[in-house]
């Protein structure tokens, strides 16, 4: 802790350009205008609200978890449990290695575990899922200094790691048990986006809406995600601008391409309901640590992610691009913060 304070002091005295201060997200909740946080976590005066937020996110994820259980059976529960146990254990090991206070009770590791599990295919090997969870917590969070300092969404980073490591397993989907009445491992299927991209097959809207389709555990049921997402927005635990501009820009751009050539490009409703768009927009993009702190930044973040989703879905090699889009926008978030931050009076432009 002393080291950190010393380092920060150095930065300010030695450099002509004072680095941008991104407040710890927890302090932002208490006092949004507070721009200078020099001590390291934990911020005791705000710990309570961190707990509250984290647990409300977990509650918001319940509908999606319930639907995944309904469509994919015991396997879904097993996957969620495995990931959560793995993230919690990694968190504990990391705390121990860094010799810091144990942080498993703040709920963030649980959320990372649930989010990761919900973005994996139902038949994915549990041992590989553990690898994803370990990467998410260690490389996604603790190497940056722990909660509040990470640049990339840990769950998405873990998932991207798995996608690059096991490309075939990560794109092998199975039908929901409600559709086949057989063991889920038996039949492999395509996601609606994959079916459209490679074979130009459209999926029925009601199936998309309720989630009776192939896909990652938690992303298939639009209605469950909407319920959870709206719950989060009502509690003001997520910046509404991000999902709005994210979904809005996908809808807008999707419409333009669809009107331009309906045979080549799917309609905007299909874009919204398929793949991980809603799940990503409500639960991944709104992560307070890795998204911009300014309202204007929120708009830019969402719109940028939406544009990238459309580019990847329509012109890229992969059927789905929500994960990559959010990760890319996570990467440019510091730049967005830098250029949308309200200037303090008398401060130079640099």
């Amino acid at each position: 802790m002393n080291d950190i304070i010393k380092e920060n002091d150095n930065n300010i005295t030695e450099e002509k350009v004072v680095p941008q201060k991104k407040p710890d997200p927890r302090s932002k909740l208490a006092k949004p205008e507070r721009m200078l946080v020099l001590n390291s976590s934990p911020h005791l005066h705000t710990t309570k609200s961190v707990h509250k937020i984290m647990w409300s996110v977990i509650i918001a994820l319940i509908p999606a978890m319930a639907m995944s259980f309904y469509y994919f059976g015991v396997r879904a529960g097993l996957m969620i449990l495995t990931c959560v146990v793995a993230t919690l254990s990694t968190e504990l090991v990391m705390n121990f290695m860094k010799g810091e206070k144990i942080t498993i009770s703040d709920g963030s590791a649980i959320i990372t575990g649930i989010l990761l599990a919900l973005t994996l295919p139902p038949t994915f090997r549990l041992s590989s899922a553990v690898l994803g969870a370990v990467v998410a917590i260690s490389l996604g969070k603790h190497i940056f200094g722990g909660l509040g300092y990470n640049i990339f969404n840990p769950a998405l980073l873990g998932r991207a790691f798995l996608q690059a490591s096991f490309p075939v397993a990560m794109t092998t989907w199975s039908n929901p048990i409600t559709l086949k009445y057989s063991a889920i491992d038996a039949v492999s299927t395509a996601t609606p986006l994959g079916a459209f991209k490679f074979e130009k097959i459209l999926t029925d809207y009601s199936d998309l809406f309720f989630g009776n389709i192939g896909g990652s555990l938690g992303e298939t049921s639009a209605i469950a995600i909407l319920i959870g997402g709206i719950f989060l927005l009502i509690l003001k635990n997520a910046d509404w601008r991000i999902p709005l501009s994210f979904i809005g820009s996908v809808f807008l751009l999707g419409s333009i391409f669809w009107l331009f050539n309906p045979n080549q490009y799917p309609d905007p409703i299909f874009h919204l309901l398929s793949g991980g768009l809603l799940f990503g927009a409500f639960f991944m993009a709104t992560d307070m640590v890795t998204s911009p702190i300014t309202p204007k930044g929120g708009w830019i973040f969402g719109a940028g992610a939406g544009i990238l989703v459309i580019i990847i879905r329509l012109f890229g090699g992969l059927p789905e691009g929500v994960m990559f889009s959010i990760l890319l926008m996570n990467g440019v978030t510091p730049l967005i913060n830098r250029y949308t931050r309200p200037r303090i009076f008398g401060e130079s432009r640099k």
Partner: protein, 192 residues
């Protein structure tokens, strides 16, 4: 090959820094401040474009006709070194403010492997003169993009509680790896 695809390929899909590991030294060294990253990126882009043109001419009008391709590496590196020198002198004469911004980065560019890499790739892939030029601009734009994103992140990380052994180069590599992961989403953009 379609020139637009070539540009997108060089700048994003096969980003010089994130997929070919070219220009890693300045990527680690000059990515602490966004402002200097922008200047460095522009300087590299500028030199890349000129290098792409000049080395193409040297290779196809001098080395190939006289069957002295063996001198490829020697001549390329000499060309790049003198080019950087010339560009530096030229900028100094034409625009003082521009020189003040780019000046200190120009000598560093000689040993930036992205520049030599650009010339080598363009010979290896048998690009035409125009293709080689577009390739140069695209690669420079991609380098600038990666460098500026990295600088933004590193400014932010200065306030982080990064474990001591990872401060500096270690965390830069981890962030670069994460960015490279994110950039994998663009794979296939050029095949559709």
């Amino acid at each position: 090959m379609n020139l637009l695809l070539l540009f997108i390929s060089a700048a994003i899909v096969n980003n010089f820094v994130l997929t070919y590991f070219l220009g890693i030294c300045p990527f680690v060294g000059v990515s602490k401040r966004v402002s200097s990253a922008v200047s460095m990126g522009l300087a590299v882009m500028f030199v890349m474009t000129i290098t792409a043109a000049v080395t193409w001419l040297i290779y196809h009008l001098l080395l190939v006709p006289y069957h002295i391709e063996i001198l490829e590496y020697v001549s390329f590196i000499l060309v790049i070194a003198s080019l950087v020198q010339l560009v530096e002198m030229f900028i100094k004469k034409v625009s003082k403010p521009l020189y003040d911004t780019l000046g200190i980065y120009l000598p560093l560019i000689t040993t930036n492997c992205a520049i030599l890499g650009l010339a080598l790739f363009s010979v290896l892939r048998d690009y035409s003169f125009v293709e080689s030029l577009v390739f140069g601009i695209g690669a420079g734009a991609g380098f600038t993009l990666a460098l500026v994103i990295m600088a933004g992140i590193r400014e932010e990380l200065e306030l982080s509680n990064i474990p001591k052994p990872f401060r500096g180069a270690g965390i830069t590599m981890i962030v670069a790896g994460s960015l490279a992961l994110a950039f994998m989403g663009f794979a296939g953009l050029i095949s559709m």
